[in-house]
Amino acid sequence: MKTSRRQFIKTSSLYAGGLAMAGSGLKAASGLLKNLGGNVEGLSRTPTYCEICFWQCAGWVYKDDDGRIQKIIGNDDDPHCNGRLCPRGTGGVGMYHDEDRLKTPLIRRTVDGKQVFEEATWEEALDFIAEKMKSVAAEFGPECVVLFSHGSGGAHLGHMLKAFGSQSISAPSFAQCRGPREVAFLTTYGDIVYSPERTDIRDSRCLVFIGYHLGENMHNGQVQEMSDAIDKGATIITVDPRYSVAASKSKYWLPIKPATDLALLLSWIHVLIENGWYDKEYVEKYTFGFEQLREHVKQYTPEWAYGITTIDPNVIRRTAKEMYDASPAVIVHPGRHTTWYGDDTQRLRAVAILNAILGSWGRRGGFYFPERVQFPEYPTPAYPVPNRLPTEAYAGKYNLANEVVSNGICDATIPSVDSDCNFKVWLVNGTNLMLALPDQKKTLQAIQALELVVVIDTMPVEITGYADVVLPECTFLERYDMVRVSRHREPTLALRMPATEPKYHSKPGDWIARELGIRLGLAAYFPWKDMEEHLDWQLKQVGSSLEEMKRIGVKKFPRQYDDLYLHEGEDFFFNTNTGKIELYSTDMEEEGFPPLPVYTEHEQPPEGFYRLNYGRAPMHTFGRTANNPNLTDLMDENTLWVNPKVANLWGLENDQYIKLRNQDGIVSTFSIKVRITERIRWDSVYMVHGFGHDNKKLSRAHGRGINDTELITNVKIDPVMGGTGMRSNFVTFVFENDNAGEEVEA
């Protein structure tokens, strides 16, 4: 245990002189900055792929004669974006220009009994980290070093960490987001949905969205294709207690009572089977357990579902018929952020089953088979075999999780008598764990138990306040990264190269990983001269080259393995225990979970409280963009959506600022602006996630709106895969003179 508590360092750092460091490694970007053709209006352009969200759209960065980045435009040849970036990508320049960026390495020191950050050189910071990693590894084994990552830096740092002997690598995008979906589809189809999603939206005739607010979440290719589908007259069915933008584009909006979606899904399955509205040949040929399913869903009549969901039984029947009429060109969309109530894998299993009986998997207008280029790694020595795997942190649990469960790692970091599996070092890259992980108290407990916290980021996000060392990473516009090898209808590669040199003292992720690796005695794992040589070698193995990719940005390859869709009568082996699509899941059964999804009731808000729902805005990627000057210009705070009836009851006015208190007495740090709207049900309130930053160094984001994560303290763990269900939190309004409840640290 540490003797001194790791205090959150909010304000300015101490300034030390002499920060320059001779540029070892990366020979900066010089020589790459000259014109590469394709110029318009005196602007030169270089290829990149966007880092503002996981969609990784490829584009061109245009600069004027003074080398100033003017704009980023989508690459026409890229199937992720078809030449059109989303607003975040278009405003991606703001990430580079943001004057609040992390500028120089910082090390936590205690001066006169007070903890402060002191500016350091890269040598000092990296030496410090390497020494600590070595001493901790000597005592506890290298596996006690963990990497949490989101985005492109993870590949470099992950490589370094595996070479060091640790496989403890985790991304909150699994257990806090899409995990239930991947596990549900894996147990059903033996394959996952992937990112970008393999949904054939453009050719779909019926789209069903369950709480999935496409258009507000700007998953670019899917938004584009939804628009194509609207043009072609597709029927859209949206299930959401909130009148989302997608709902407003829908033929059917089902304003469901929150937390009852599984009842609706089961009753749809009931209606389809009872009426014979399913793909009999497909079910016969490809699925396992149809009879058990038929028996199981007999109980789930539309009338039964009506009492739970408040959706009219006739609407349930009519929408089921719409799906059948469109089948197999129908997509019951699996969504993306699916960690809601703790039985999420089961809900997503019901979605997977619905698609299966409609025969949409592997069919045009349903789910296609994506393909990627076989892209070789640059040869390096084999990684040492770790003594223990990160999954031992939650041994005996979550066996079906196909990725590492971040909250499992976080929990195991907190010393306990039940577990000897302690983690001692966290490297945190590109993910603001304070906003990403629910139940902040636990995260803080874990942080206090650590020997070393290193945060590698572009922005002074909250987690940097708890770091021992902060390393300023440069933005995607200032660096090379691994080639984007994407799985899509057509396999493609995309190049990211620096459009300009790293600003301030920031450095690219590959350089940071390599410099740290060298200090850890792992130079043999970094045999390349620089990223250019690294990428060029890889590209040459598939018949391209760095020179070619600099010119074209995106290269398409022909498909080699199978076709986009199943052929008529094709024999197909699914990667499940039975080789079939498992309507009845043998995996679930083996693990002691219901092999067919069973409806369970969830908590509803107590009187005077409202369910806290949260979502996305098209111009922001959670907390990541909340300080981006171009994007805050479009939206600089979140608002609290309140139904007019509720507003009346509480005397709330539009634009009034108000705090919230949750069921556990936690009061929000900041206030939020009230937006009275008919678009929300009376039993819930809604806000966009990613606001309410409490680090003053984020000058545009600080104190703007409420951070929903701090109000999410009732976390429902999904026993199947460890996901953190976050939608069982209830809030009420706090007025100025009301001091009830415990204030969280401001």
Binding site: Q70, R84, S227, S248, N630
Partner: protein
């Protein structure tokens, strides 16, 4: 030649990409915009409708802003686009007051600015305006009303549409597909 734009309110998701793309294309300073999003909600829960519109200058055929401009800075240009010669503009703001659509703003450099349909920097070079070419839902259509094959003429032939504040008599060239 009469340039015009149509906005499909059935497809627009209100993402504001058209707004950022215009800002970066035309160096519009942060805090200002030449185009913007309007969202109108109608009805009570759960009988609701929303109309989402990407709005900008209507490039009116009968433009009060041009009529009232004392210096001639506001003028009709190629294809009927309404433009402002920034070196002639004295920033008096008469045009801002006269525009029924609130399409103009005082640029911090002292002149009045607004949407140009990207006439000089893009359209004359054969490209679409920045907002049209970035829109992820492809809900913006641009072109010459006098050319029956232009995207805007084609879509107006097929779909129902409306213009904003027709009673102002400005003859707008911005159409909303409904």
């Amino acid at each position: 030649m009469r340039y015009a734009m149509a906005v499909d309110t059935k497809k627009c998701v209100g993402c504001s990409d058209c707004v950022v793309a215009c800002q970066t294309e035309n160096n519009v300073p942060i805090g200002y915009c030449r185009d913007w999003i309007v969202e109108v909600t109608d009805g009570t829960y759960p009988q609701l409708e929303i109309e989402i519109r990407s709005e900008r200058c209507n490039h009116c055929e009968n433009a009060p802003c041009v009529r009232c401009c004392p210096t001639g800075a506001s003028h009709y240009s190629d294809g009927g686009t309404v433009l402002v010669k920034k070196y002639h503009c004295i920033g008096c703001g008469a045009c801002i007051a006269s525009c029924p659509y609130d399409a103009r703003f005082p640029h911090p450099e002292g002149y009045v600015d607004k949407c140009t349909f990207c006439l000089d920097n893009r359209v004359k070079k054969g490209m679409d305006p920045a907002c049209v070419s970035v829109c992820p839902t492809k809900c913006l259509y641009f072109g010459d009303l006098d050319d029956p094959r232009s995207p805007v003429s084609q879509i107006l032939k097929k779909r129902k549409y409306k213009t904003l504040i027709p009673e102002a008599g400005t003859k707008p060239h911005l159409y909303f597909l409904i």
